[in-house]
Each structure stands twice: as structure tokens, then as C-alpha cells.
Amino acid sequence: MKKPKFGVVVFPGSNCDYDAYYSLKKVLGYDVSFLWHKDTDLQNSDAIILPGGFSYGDYLRTGAIARFSPIMEKVVAFAENGGVVIGICNGFQILLEAGLLPGVMLKNKSLKFVCKDVYLKVESDKSIFTNTLENKNVLRIPVAHGDGNYFADEATLNSLTENDQIIFKYSDENGVEHEEANPNGSLLNIAGIVNTKRNVLGMMPHPERCCSGILGNTDGALIFNSVAKSLFN
């Protein structure tokens, strides 16, 4: 079977770029390349990862400057042609700023950074990110962010729901959504969404942090493996 190739974009201030690279390459065995933000070559990647971190320090607004990096023009074109793009944490924020996904991120309701394991209910399995999760419908994946409070107007929220674009929702370990299970105040407990074409995923939790058994949790690997299987089956 041909191995899919992931491209991990490195913005100045990305700090989960190496984690994504390591998990995909060393733990899961896929081909991976780093893509420098000043370059414009996607190096024949089958899927692009916009990793977590604090691009440009996030001193202005999360993701607001990174979207102007030269590589982003190519990423946007790639996505518009149906290419698979996954934005994780800061990557999700960049996708929102780039207009590839609808909505915005506000500061967490607590106004504090939060890092902990959370549970995600798989709201839709009709996406290449979730269609082969080995029958798991609740995943345990950590969050680590200060601005993960997803916000959109009512019309956008309705269309996200109607079009089945909400992929992950914060829940308890039994898949029940409630306020206590929501680490940041996101509307509708939204943790991850796709675009209408269903090839671009943005999610606040970090699947790359839970791929290796050494760290005691491999739920994140299910998402990457789902993408790989979908791309090459």
C-alpha cells in the first residue's frame, strides 16, 4: 500500500510542528515533510497539517498574521481543489482567519489558558477524519489553549448543524454534552468542524499528543489513520 505523505507547515512560533511530525512519522510510520512558511512548495503532500503553537506570538489575534505567510496561498488553493487540510489548535485559528472555515475564536470563558485531557463526542462519522475510528464514538484527547472558545452567528451555527459540519463536540466520557465538559465555553460545545466540502478540518484538541502508547493514550492516532485509509483505499 502506498503511504500517504503529510506536510507539516512551520510558522514562526509553531511549537507543535515537531510533535505532529514525530507522531506521524516515527509513531505511525507515514511520510512527513516540514513545509517552511516562507516557501511556496507543498512538496507533493497528500494532506497538510497546520500545527499548534503561537504563530507570530499571537500578539495581534490568534492566527491573524500567519494567514499572510507565503505558503498559505498554496494551502488555500490546495484546499479549494479538495486537498485534505487539518488545522490543530493554532492551526484551526489560522483556518478561521484564512476563511477556510467559518466562525471565530474568542478567549476561553475562564480567561485562562487550559491544558488537560478532554472527551470528544464524534458528532459525525461522515468525514474522512472520522469514518474509520474503529467504532469509537468518544475520544480522549488533550486541549492546550487560551483562545478556544468557538463563536459564530446563529445562521452559521444552524448551517454547520444542518450540513453535518460539526465533527467533534466536548462531552463527558459517556458522550453526553454538558457545560462542565466544555473547557472553553464554545458554542454548541464545538471542538472541531469541517468545511462544506468536508476536506478541511479544524479542531482545538491535539490528536498528535496522543498517538504513542508510551504516553498512555492512542486515541489521536485514530484520526490520522482514518485520513490515511480514506486517502488510499
Partner: protein, 739 residues
């Protein structure tokens, strides 16, 4: 700022003594000019010169074990961990800046210690911090606590290093002078270690990273005096942190070190350009010609004095091989950072600083630095009067109290409860190496592509050190080691952050002297040499010095990932053993403070041999897979430790039915903080093997009961619901902070 005429009066204002001013004149053979006065004053400040502490620091064991680079030789010590890798780690204080500007003070404390690690070529893999504040009942404490935590979090989170362990204590002693000690741990290939040296005539001196501004001028001098009402005016002495730039600086620095273009590199922290130029020259037995016109500035109108003394953050000084300057520049340009040649190496040992066409300073580098011409003093000592009174406090006169309520009260003390409110604000998982994160005895960090991990912890009980400096310092070392061992690690080495009062007060210096003696004895005994660290004197508030607090940061090696051990009970039916003996010691205990409002008595005794035997036994039984959890008994005593074993894994609370011996008084036995004690759980199938191992090692173990149920029951008399314990444990601090 304008240059001033140098007089004895001005020298005094700069914190120099009359003798020191004379010494400067003798070194130069003339009066110093304004720039030179500034240079000597910061380089000879306590913070940079260690003038009052270095003689004693040198008595600590600084080699042996697996040490590759000893204390003081480089920015941080290096310990061999096999596989061609070494671990670099160090702890440093940022107490005074945090007292007046808690957010930036704490943030730049983290930034400074991270640079100390990556300037050696090591990539930071973990960050820890040890914090002391006044009582949480005070609004000022809550303000400091909130912002210090935010400062640490914002810096480390953005930089991308996991903050994985530490400690937070609250006691009135630290009310106006909090302690903020930051520790960083990094990994480097042993053949890629960078040195903080400059040599080879004609090699280039380059400044890289951020531009230079007026922030932090005289930060080092500020750190070398007591906090007072005037300290508020020192806020401009506090630097401003930029973790994003530091992240870029990290990547660029590691890239140029790997490129092989450097002679040496040193970060700029205290005393900025003057400290790095003089220390690198002195180490390389060379000199430098520096032209300040080339330094990228962020403000106009700065004079030479300000540029030399600025403590602007996220800067490095590099000595680059002649001809490799463009390679270095290319890397920094890629990362959008400044990189300028500001001078070259000379061979006459002099630092010649010119600016705007004028020679601004000409001073011998060697005479400025620690280990060179900087003054070394031995201060007067006097045993403080409070000790006899405190040590002779008669605990037997204390009334007996209701155990159930007393326990809930002690267990609700923010000194004991979970620091979840703190550590959930820290990214503890970035870099995907965190196997055991905050909340257990020690953090455990995987070393990628090996079957090894590092265990790490900071520790110090300031009350014990206050009541008996020598014993207290030994306990700090012993307890750190115990925490490492409980996690399955072999203690490797320590770094220390010595937080004390004004050394010119003989009582304070006596505490310092005693603590160093105790620490040295314990470190020699456990073969854990000191890799380096930091001394912070002048931690005083208007009333008195803070409790002497020699914080220990310890790193241990776990040779096999299978040996990683956590502190919480695992399965119903497992047997609970208490290892070690109780001596009903409640001097300096949390019980005494919380229930009787006393910080008195004698600190617990520590028998180093018993402690060492305990470590050997624990590591043997962990290796033999005989124990399923291990947790040390510390603040709050044995019931608190048992309660933690039941609830630390918040997702799976599990009870225990325990019977504990009472010696003379129930309250003393249950709240005693006697040392060298650990609670382990053992599968019933391994009972005989475990007990045989204890017998063979002559270790006293007590079969105290079984794991199971939804309560923690003690001696059939006291039953605590786990739900209540967990609520108190995990939510007390957030309830106080969210008011």
C-alpha cells in the same frame, strides 16, 4: 540619561562599598568614568559576583556521579545519561522582579533559565517552578499568585516547553517578598555541547536576537538589596519578556551550534552585554573590542552606560569563527532576528568599549568576574536568638483536638491541596514526552527514541529550614531524592536555588552557612552532586527575612520505562504498606501551623543512612515489579499521604481501610511529618516476596490495610468520603481564587 561625574557618593549610590571603590581605582590605576562605574557596580553586585556566597558554595560537592560539566564551569551543569546524551538543568530565582511586577518578573524568570539551557546547545524538554507566597487570605497574595502563574504559563506555553512539576507554598513569612524560582531541563548530544567562551584573536563577536532597550537596567543591583517601600520605584528595573522571540532564538541558536561555526555562546541575562562580554573573555583568557554603534537599539538617545547594562531579554552573545559570520547571519535572517557583528576578540585581556567615536570603557575582563577579580567575602555569623525559643516549644502542652475535623482542616490547607488550578494553566504536554505530568511525586519525561525517562522535582520545606537550617536543608535533598525514587528513578544530581535574607545580618548568614553544610552532607551521601544554581540574598520584608529556603531541583534517571511508578492506589484488594518509622514529630508541621497557629518545635530528624536504605529497597522492589504505587509521606502527615493515594488519580477514586499505630498521642502520630516514610501498594500475590525483600534489606514495613471501597477509613474510627476529600483537594484553591 546623562553621564555623571564619578564620586565616592555616586559609587555608594551604585551599591559599592568604599573599599570596593578603592579596589576599582587600584585595578584601573585611575578613577573610573561613569560607564566603568556602572560596569563594576553590576558585575560586583551580589547577583553577578556571588561575593558573599561563593566561598561556601565551593564547599558543596561539584563533581563526581555522572557529571560531565561541573557547577560554575558553564551556564548549567551537564549530566551523562548514556546513549550519547546529556541532561542540562538549572534553577534560578526571580524573586525581586516578581515582587513588584509579578507577571513580567515571573515570565522573564522562565525565559532566563530557558536561555541558560539552550545556550549550551541543549533543547529544553521541561520546565518546573518553585513558588512561595504569603497567606492566600490576603488580596495582595492572590494578586501576586494569579499574575506569577499567568506569567509562567504565558511564557512557557508560547515558547513550547512543557511545565511539568514544581511546588507552591503559602506562609506569612513570604508576604511582601515572594519567591519565584524557575527551573529548566534540556537534552543535548554530548558532541554538540556549546561553551560560554571567547578566544582566538580576530574572531567575531556578534549580538543576536532582540534589540536592546532601556528595560532592566540595574536589575542585577536591584536583586542585591532588600525589598522596601522604595521597591515600587524599581519597576523599570524589571525586564519585559517576549516568548515568541525566545522560541525563534532557540531554533536559530541550536541551528548555529549544530553548524559548527561558533567558538562560544552565552545568553544575556543579568547585567546584559557587560556580563556576557566579560565572562566569555575571562573564560577564554582573552579580551574584546566592542563597538556599541552596531548594537540594534529599540530606543533612541541611549548612552553607553545604558546599552552596556540593559537587561533586555531574548539576546545572546556569540563568538564566531572568522569567515563564518555570513553563515550565522543567514540563519538569523531566516528566523527574522537581529544579528550584528559588534566587535572582535583580542589577546590583551581588556574589554574596550567604544561608542559614537569615543572610548567609553577600558577594563580588564578578569577583574570583573566571579572567580577572577570580583571581591570574595566571608561574612560574620551568629546563631539567631529565636532558635532556642522555637526549638524548645513544648508540644506536649498543646490540647488534643478532634481528629476528623482537624484532618479536614489540614487537608484543606492550600499547602497540601492539589495545585490543579495552577498547572492546568500550564501546557504540560507539548513536545509529547510527558508520561507523568503535574500532580504526582515527580514528573516523568520520556527521552525520545530511547527506553529511558527522566524524573524531576523541586523541593524545600522553608519552615523546617527556619527551625533547623542544617537539618532542614538535608531534608530538602532527601525528600527530592525520595520523590525521584518513588517515581522509579535513580537520583542523578541537583541544582539549587538558595533564597536567604540579607547576608550582612549575621543571623541570616548563620542560616546560610548551616544550610550549605547540611545540603553538602546530604548531596555527598546520596552521590548527587550540585550542577549549579543560584543564590538569592536580600529576601526580606520590613519585619524580617523570609524563611531560609534552599530549593532543591533534582533530576533522576529511569533506565527502563517499565519502572515508572505513580503515587496512586490502583486495584481493590491490594495491600497497603507503610515503609519507615514514625517518631511523632510535629515540629514545623502543617498541623501545628493550621490547627495551633504555631511555626515552632524542632524540625523532624533525618537519618541519611535510613533514607538511603529506603531508596535502595524501593528501587529493588520497583525493579522486581513488586509494588504498584509509591507515595512519600510529607506535609500533613500520614493520613494526608494516604488520602492522596486514594484520590490523586481524579478519574478513578479508590478507598482504603487502614490501621495505623498510635505511639503516645493520636494527633501527633497521625499528623507527624517524620522523614523517610513511603506508602506503597502491593498485590496480594506478591505479599511474601515483598516482605522477604524488606526483611533482607532490614527495612521496617507495616502492613497497614487494604485498598478498596469508597471511603478512607483510619483505625476503624475515622471514615472520610472520597468524594469529599477529592472536592476539598482539587477545588480549594480555585474556590479561593474565583472568590
Amino acid at each position: 540619561m546623562k553621564e555623571k561625574i564619578v564620586t565616592l557618593e555616586l559609587a555608594r549610590e551604585h551599591g559599592l562599598t568604599d573599599e570596593e571603590f578603592e579596589k576599582i581605582k587600584k585595578i584601573l590605576g585611575r578613577d573610573p568614568n561613569f560607564t566603568e562605574l556602572g560596569i563594576f557596580s553590576v558585575m560586583w553586585s551580589e547577583h553577578c559576583s556571588y561575593k558573599n556566597s561563593i566561598a561556601l558554595i565551593k564547599t558543596l560537592p561539584r563533581n563526581g556521579g555522572r557529571l560531565l560539566v561541573g557547577a560554575g564551569e558553564e551556564n548549567a551543569g551537564l549530566v551523562d545519561i548514556g546513549d550519547g546524551l546529556a541532561v542540562a538543568f538549572k534553577i534560578e530565582s526571580h524573586n525581586h522582579p516578581s515582587a513588584v511586577e509579578p507577571y513580567q518578573g515571573a515570565a522573564t524568570g522562565v525565559g532566563g533559565i530557558l536561555r541558560d539551557i539552550f545556550t549550551m546547545g541543549a533543547r529544553p524538554i521541561a520546565s518546573l517552578n518553585s513558588l512561595r507566597f504569603g497567606s492566600l487570605e490576603s488580596a495582595h497574595t492572590r494578586f501576586l499568585f494569579e499574575l506569577v502563574v499567568k506569567g509562567i504559563g504565558d511564557y512557557g506555553n508560547c515558547f513550547g516547553v512543557p511545565t511539568v512539576a514544581g511546588e507552591v507554598y503559602f506562609d506569612e513569612s513570604y508576604q511582601t517578598n515572594p519567591l519565584v524560582n524557575a527551573m529548566a531541563v534540556g537534552i543535548v548530544k554530548t558532541d554538540q555541547v556549546a561553551s560560554a567562551t571567547a578566544k582566538g584573536v580576530g574572531n567575531s563577536i556578534m549580538i543576536v536576537g532582540s534589540s536592546t532597550g532601556r528595560d532592566g537596567i540595574h536589575g542585577a543591583t536591584f536583586a542585591s538589596e532588600e525589598i522596601s517601600e522604595k521597591s515600587e520605584s524599581k519597576r523599570p528595573s524589571v525586564q519585559v519578556g517576549d516568548p515568541f522571540t525566545e522560541k525563534l532564538l532557540l531554533e536559530a541558536t541550536l541551528e548555529i551550534i549544530k553548524g559548527g561555526w561558533l567558538i562560544g555562546i552565552q545568553d544575556m541575562g543579568a547585567a546584559g552585554i557587560i556580563c556576557s562580554t566579560s565572562e566569555m573573555s575571562a573564560k577564554g583568557e582573552s579580551g574584546m573590542k566592542i563597538n556599541l554603534d552596531k548594537v540594534p537599539l529599540r530606543e533612541s538617545g541611549m548612552i553607553a552606560y545604558e546599552i552596556m547594562l540593559s537587561e533586555s531579554q531574548e539576546r545572546m552573545l556569540c563568538c564566531v569563527k572568522k569567515g563564518c559570520e555570513d553563515k550565522v547571519k543567514e540563519v538569523f535572517e531566516k528566523w527574522d532576528l537581529h544579528c550584528e557583528i559588534i566587535g572582535e576578540v583580542t589577546d590583551d585581556g581588556m574589554l574596550e568599549i567604544s561608542y559614537q567615536g569615543e572610548l567609553k570603557a577600558k577594563v580588564p575582563a578578569y577583574d570583573l568576574v566571579l572567580g577572577g577579580g570580583a571581591p570574595v567575602y566571608k561574612r560574620e555569623t551568629k546563631r539567631p536568638e529565636y532558635l532556642d525559643k522555637k526549638n524548645n516549644f513544648d508540644v506536649n502542652k498543646l490540647p488534643e483536638v478532634d481528629i476528623y475535623n482537624a484532618f479536614i482542616k489540614v487537608f484543606s490547607s492550600p499547602n497540601i491541596t492539589s495545585k490543579k488550578w495552577v498547572y492546568e494553566q500550564y501546557d504540560s504536554m507539548v513536545r509529547t514526552n510527558t508520561i507523568v505530568g503535574p500532580g504526582c511525586d515527580a514528573a516523568v519525561i520520556h527521552i525520545k527514541d530511547t527506553n529511558k525517562a527522566l524524573a524531576m522535582k523541586t523541593d524545600c520545606n522553608g519552615r523546617f529550614v527556619y527551625l533547623g537550617p542544617k537539618e532542614g536543608a538535608k531534608i530538602a535533598v532527601a525528600e527530592s531524592a525520595r520523590n525521584i525514587v518513588c517515581s522509579g528513578g535513580v537520583p542523578l544530581a541537583i541544582t539549587n536555588c538558595l533564597n536567604f535574607g540579607n547576608p550582612y545580618k549575621p543571623e541570616n548568614f548563620w542560616q546560610f552557612t548551616e544550610a550549605i553544610e547540611g545540603m553538602g552532607e546530604a548531596c555527598r551521601f546520596f552521590d548527587t552532586p550540585v550542577t549549579g544554581g543560584n543564590v538569592s540574598f536580600y529576601n526580606e520584608s520590613p519585619d524580617a527575612a523570609v524563611y531560609p529556603t534552599p530549593t532543591i531541583g533534582m533530576v533522576g534517571l529511569i533506565e527502563n520505562l517499565e519502572n515508572i511508578t505513580t503515587s496512586f492506589f490502583k486495584n481493590e484488594g491490594d495491600l497497603v504498606y507503610v515503609i519507615g518509622e514514625d517518631f511523632e514529630e510535629i515540629g514545623g508541621s502543617e498541623f501545628l501551623k493550621v490547627i495551633h497557629n504555631e511555626v515552632a518545635g524542632a524540625p523532624p530528624k533525618i537519618d541519611l543512612q535510613a533514607e538511603k536504605n529506603l531508596h535502595k529497597f524501593l528501587l529493588e522492589t520497583i525493579n522486581g515489579k513488586l509494588i504498584k504505587s509509591a507515595h512519600d509521606v510529607s506535609e500533613g502527615g500520614i493520613v494526608a499521604a494516604l488520602a492522596e493515594c486514594c484520590i490523586i488519580d481524579e478519574k478513578t477514586l479508590i478507598g482504603a481501610d487502614i490501621t495505623l499505630p498510635i505511639k503516645t498521642r493520636e494527633d501527633f502520630s497521625l499528623f507527624s511529618e517524620s522523614q523517610s516514610r513511603v506508602i506503597v501498594s502491593v498485590s496480594p500475590a506478591d505479599k511474601d516476596k515483598f516482605e522477604a525483600a524488606a526483611l533482607a534489606n532490614k527495612i521496617p514495613v507495616l502492613n497497614a490495610g487494604r485498598v478498596g471501597g469508597s471511603d478512607l477509613t483510619i483505625n476503624k474510627r475515622y471514615s472520610f468520603s472520597l468524594e469529599k476529600l477529592a472536592d476539598v483537594y482539587f477545588n480549594t484553591i480555585s474556590r479561593i481564587m474565583n472568590g
